[in-house]
C-alpha cells in the first residue's frame, strides 16, 4: 500500500528530531535520565502500536513482553554468563516467543476486543506473581546487573552515550513501523482492525497475521525491556510486569495517535515532558503524575479521538466505527 506523505507527518518529525537533539546541546544533565526514560517508554509504545494501533488488538498487559525482555537478558547474563549483546538478542527472541504464545492462544480461541485486553492483563499478572516467587528471578528483591561499563557489556559510562543507544533503538523501531505500514502485512493488519470478518472473507489468514504482529510487538517490547535493564541495571516484578508499565505502553500511542508511525513517540514525549513540568510546578507526590496521565488520556479521548497526530493530520483517518449493537 502506497501512503502519501502528509505534510503533518513532516512537521511532527521535525519537532521530534529537535526534541531528540536537545540533550546534546541545551538540556541540563539532570534531565538526561528523564529523556532516556521517555525513549524507553517510546520504544514500548512503538511495540504496542504494532498490535494495538495498526491491528486494533488492544492489550492491557504489554508489560508481560517488556518484563520478559528485561528479565530474560538479566537472567542470561547473571545465571549463564552470556555476553550482553547476545543476551539482548536472545531476550528479544524470548519476548517475541511470549507474544506469539499469548497471541496464538488468545486468537486460536477467538478472543478480541475487551476480552483480549483482559487476558493480556491476566498474563502480565501471572508473570508478575511468578517473577516475585522464585529465587532464579530474584524473588521480591528483583535482579541487579553488576556495573561493568564498556561497549562490549552494553553499559555506557556516559549517560549521553546511553541516551544515544536507546535513541538508536527507537529510530530502528520507527523504521520497522514504517516498513510495516507500507507492507502488505501492514495493510492486512489495518484491514483486520477495520473489519476482521471482511478481511477473512477476502482471504487474509487473519490468525497468522495477528500472531505475527504479536511476535513483532514482543520483540520490540523485549528490546525496550533490554534498554531499561542496561540503563538502570535493575528490574523487579512490579517494574517489569506491573500494571504501570502496561499502562505506559498504551498511553503513548493512544495519546499520540494509535496506528500512526510517529504517534507513540509524540505521545510519550508530550505526556512525560508536560508531566515532569507539572511535577516541578506542584511538587512531586506519589500518584499525582499518574492522575495527570489519566486526565490527559480522558481529554484526548474526548476531544482528539485520533490522538495528538490528529491535530497535524486532520481528522480524516479512521472514521468512527458504528456503535456496537
Amino acid at each position: 500500500m502506497k501512503t502519501r506523505m502528509h505534510p503533518g507527518n513532516a512537521v511532527v518529525a521535525v519537532i521530534l528530531i529537535v526534541a531528540a537533539l536537545l540533550p546534546y546541546f541545551v538540556l541540563p544533565a539532570a534531565w538526561l535520565g528523564l529523556a532516556t526514560n521517555i525513549l524507553v517508554f517510546s520504544l514500548l509504545g512503538v511495540a504496542w502500536n504494532i498490535t494495538g494501533g495498526f491491528g486494533g488488538m488492544m492489550s492491557f498487559g504489554h508489560a508481560v513482553l517488556f518484563g520478559s525482555g528485561a528479565y530474560a537478558t538479566a537472567m542470561l547474563q547473571l545465571h549463564a554468563g552470556i555476553n550482553p549483546w547476545l543476551a539482548a538478542l536472545a531476550a528479544m527472541a524470548i519476548a517475541a516467543g511470549v507474544g506469539t504464545f499469548i497471541g496464538a492462544l488468545s486468537f486460536r480461541y477467538g478472543l478480541r476486543g475487551s476480552y483480549f485486553a483482559l487476558i493480556t492483563l491476566a498474563f502480565a499478572e501471572v508473570f508478575r506473581v511468578l517473577a516475585s516467587s522464585f529465587a532464579m528471578t530474584g524473588g521480591g528483591q528483583g535482579l541487579s546487573l553488576p556495573l561493568a561499563t564498556g561497549l562490549a557489556n552494553m553499559q555506557f559510562a556516559s549517560r549521553l552515550h546511553n541516551y544515544t543507544f536507546v535513541l538508536l533503538l527507537v529510530v530502528a523501531g520507527l523504521v520497522i513501523t514504517t516498513l510495516v505500514q507500507r507492507s502488505r502485512f501492514g495493510a492486512y493488519l489495518v484491514a483486520i482492525r477495520e473489519n476482521e470478518a471482511a478481511a477473512q472473507a477476502l482471504g487474509i489468514d487473519t490468525f497468522r497475521v495477528k500472531v505475527l504482529a504479536m511476535a513483532l510487538s514482543g520483540a520490540i517490547a523485549g528490546a525496550a525491556g533490554v534498554a531499561y535493564m542496561q540503563t538502570f541495571l535493575f528490574v523487579d516484578a512490579q517494574i517489569g510486569f506491573g500494571t504501570v508499565m502496561s499502562f505506559e505502553a498504551l498511553l503513548g500511542p493512544v495519546i499520540g495517535g494509535a496506528g500512526t508511525v510517529l504517534g507513540p513517540v509524540l505521545g510519550a514525549v508530550v505526556l512525560h515532558t508536560v508531566g515532569e513540568l507539572a511535577r516541578e510546578a506542584i511538587g512531586g507526590a506519589p500518584g499525582l503524575n499518574l492522575v495527570f496521565y489519566g486526565l490527559v488520556l480522558l481529554v484526548i479521548l474526548r476531544f482528539l479521538p485520533n490522538g495528538l497526530m490528529g491535530l497535524f493530520l486532520g481528522q480524516r483517518r479512521r472514521p468512527a466505527t458504528k456503535e456496537q449493537a
Binding site: V129, L290, V291, G294, L297, L298, L301
Partner: protein, 290 residues
C-alpha cells in the same frame, strides 16, 4: 492440613459472597451496556474509604452507613455514566474501555495521593466475634456479609423482574433498538444500570470493611477477581455471578492453603485465563458470547 479444608473452604465461601456482590454490579453493567467497566474496582476502593472515613470521622457504624452510601454511590455511578463514560467514548467499544481505564488510573492514584499507601482498617468491637458453623469458627461480620449478599442479589433479581425499570433494563439488554422504538429512554436506563452497579459496590464495601482493610491498591486486586467471577458465571448472568463468586472465594482460599500466599494468587488468574479461552460463555451457559 486436611482438617483445615472445611474451615478454609467455609471462610472462602464467606469471601465469595462479597465477590459475588461486586461481580453482580459488574455483570449488570456488562449485560446491559455491553461495556467492561475497568473502573469497577477503583469505585469499590472509593466506597471502602467512604465507609472507613464515615466511621473514623463521624462515628457511623458501617452497617448504618450502608443505605446512605448505597444512595450516594448510585448517584455517583449515574453521573459517571451519563456525564463522562458515554460522552467521552463516542460510543466506541475500545474507547469505553480506555475511558474506564483512565477513570481507574485517576481514582486509584488520587487516593494514593490523598490517603497514602498506608493500609487502614477499622477496629470494630464485633469484628472478632466468632460463630461456630459446621466445626469452623467464622467471624460474625462475614456471616452477616454472606447473608446480606444473598439478600441483595435476591432484591436485585426481584427489581429486574417485577418493576417497570427492571423490564426496561432487560428489554435493552436483549434488543436495544427495539426497546428504543417502544419508547425506552436508553441513556437513562444505561445510567441507571451503571448507578445500580456502583451502588452494589457501596453495599459490598460496608459488608467488607469490618473484616477487611483498605489501601489505594485494593480496587485493582478486586477488579481482576470481579472479572473472573463474571466470566465464570457467564457475562451478564445474575445467578452465574452469584455462583461464580462463591466458587471463586473457595478456590482462592484453597489455593492459598495449598500453594502459599504469594503463589496462591495465581490460582485466580489461571482460572480467569482458562475460562476466557475455553468457556467465555461461562460455566453454566450453553449459548456462546459472540
Amino acid at each position: 492440613m486436611l482438617g483445615l479444608i472445611i474451615p478454609v473452604a467455609l471462610n472462602g465461601l464467606m469471601t465469595g459472597a462479597i465477590y459475588a456482590l461486586v461481580a453482580l454490579g459488574l455483570t449488570l453493567i456488562y449485560g446491559v451496556l455491553h461495556i467492561i467497566n475497568f473502573a469497577h474496582g477503583s469505585l469499590l476502593m472509593l466506597a471502602l474509604y467512604a465507609v472507613y472515613f464515615m466511621h473514623v470521622l463521624l462515628g457511623v457504624d458501617p452497617y448504618v452507613a450502608m443505605p446512605f452510601l448505597v444512595l450516594a454511590f448510585f448517584a455517583l455511578g449515574y453521573v459517571l455514566q451519563r456525564g463522562i463514560i458515554s460522552t467521552f467514548s463516542h460510543g466506541k467499544e475500545s474507547n469505553i474501555l480506555l475511558v474506564t481505564l483512565a477513570l481507574s488510573i485517576i481514582i486509584d492514584n488520587l487516593a494514593l495521593y490523598l490517603w497514602t499507601s498506608n493500609t487502614r482498617s477499622l477496629n470494630l468491637p464485633y469484628a472478632y466475634e466468632m460463630i461456630e458453623v459446621a466445626g469452623a469458627l467464622l467471624p460474625l461480620p462475614r456471616l452477616i456479609a454472606f447473608g446480606a449478599a444473598l439478600v441483595i442479589a435476591l432484591l436485585l433479581w426481584l427489581g429486574m423482574t417485577r418493576t417497570r425499570d427492571g423490564r426496561a433494563i432487560r428489554a435493552i439488554a436483549v434488543e436495544k433498538r427495539g426497546a428504543e422504538l417502544v419508547g425506552v429512554n436508553v441513556k437513562h436506563v444505561y445510567a441507571l444500570c451503571f448507578g445500580i452497579g456502583t451502588a452494589c459496590l457501596a453495599a459490598a464495601a460496608c459488608l467488607l470493611i469490618p473484616t477487611f482493610y483498605v489501601t489505594p491498591q485494593v480496587g485493582y486486586a478486586f477488579v481482576l477477581i470481579a472479572f473472573t467471577t463474571v466470566v465464570l458465571g457467564g457475562m451478564g448472568s445474575f445467578a452465574g455471578a452469584l455462583v461464580g463468586g462463591l466458587l471463586l472465594g473457595v478456590v482462592e482460599a484453597l489455593s492459598g492453603l495449598f500453594l502459599g500466599e504469594t503463589l496462591g494468587q495465581i490460582g485466580i488468574f489461571l482460572v480467569f485465563i482458562l475460562m476466557l479461552l475455553f468457556r467465555p460463555q461461562g460455566l453454566f451457559s450453553a449459548r456462546g458470547v459472540r
